[in-house]
Amino acid sequence: MNTYDCYKLINVDDFEATGLVSKELSLFLTGIGLKTILITKGNFISVLIDDVFLSLEVNGKNPFEFGGYAVFKDPNNDLWLGVLNAS
């Protein structure tokens, strides 16, 4: 089974309260380095990282895994990014 290193990005409720359709985060992810992550809000909250686009809860999937990454929302409505473990 795949394991991921998970990083907490933002709180979904706080992001939706801003009324923005997108927000760019510049985060230093420990063990990886500086990454620019775009959070967007369309029909779903989505994350764009390294050319990989992940949408939260598409077809009810939480977590949503694709292309070596995963996104999920925890019960506190915090948005997490998972990076696939190479090992």
């Binding site: 998970c6 985060l27 989505s46 990989v52 686009f53 997490w80 990076v83």
Partner: protein, 188 residues
């Protein structure tokens, strides 16, 4: 005039170029990719000279507003002072007559700028001796007529942008080796 040079306002326009290929390649979803670049368009200078454009500067104001909150602590330590920048602006009042070229230009350019304020596909520079704004943003603009005359007052307030752009990055720690299970996600 200062040193023989008229004050000048320069309107800069640009066009944002997006590239949808970045995300669409991987996912086949029609999604807007990140904005890659800003294409500059020719700048429009307006000389604030009574002879050339029929405009002249009446007054200038320079203003910085800061919101300061002081919180005393329960431990009677030094109070914590938090400050937040509210405004850093230059306000220019100009006079023009009804048929002046500058008045018509300003009115037309204000209409041009209005739809671009959110996309920030514009900038305004103002150069007049010690009062300068480079690549500023418009905060307010008004044209009012003096009653009983053909004189118009033009008031333009420009926000000064920051002089340095810093990328603020926050360090985020990892929760390692998590097996993602739809029934139970980390963080609970």
């Amino acid at each position: 005039m200062l040193n023989g040079i008229d004050p000048i306002i320069i309107f800069h326009f640009s066009k944002l170029v997006t590239d949808g290929k970045v995300a669409a390649n991987k996912t086949k979803l029609p999604v807007t990719g990140s904005i890659l670049s800003s294409l500059p368009l020719p700048a429009i200078p307006i000389y604030l000279s009574e002879k050339i454009t029929g405009l002249y500067i009446d007054t200038e104001e320079r203003n910085i507003d800061i919101d300061t909150s002081i919180e005393t602590t329960a431990l009677a330590d030094d109070p914590v002072i938090n400050q937040r920048g509210i405004n850093n602006s230059v306000k220019i009042s100009m006079l023009a007559s009804r048929d002046s070229l500058g008045l018509m230009l300003f009115s037309a350019l204000a209409d041009l700028i209005f739809p671009k304020v959110t996309s920030k596909e514009y900038a305004i520079s103002y150069l007049h001796g010690a009062v300068t704004v480079f690549q500023g943003l418009i905060h307010s603009f008004a044209i009012t007529q003096d009653p009983g005359t053909d004189k118009y007052n033009i008031t333009l307030e420009l926000l000064k942008p920051g002089t340095a752009t810093k990328i603020q990055s926050t360090e985020v720690s990892a929760v390692k080796n998590v097996t993602l299970d739809a029934a139970k996600v980390p963080g609970t």
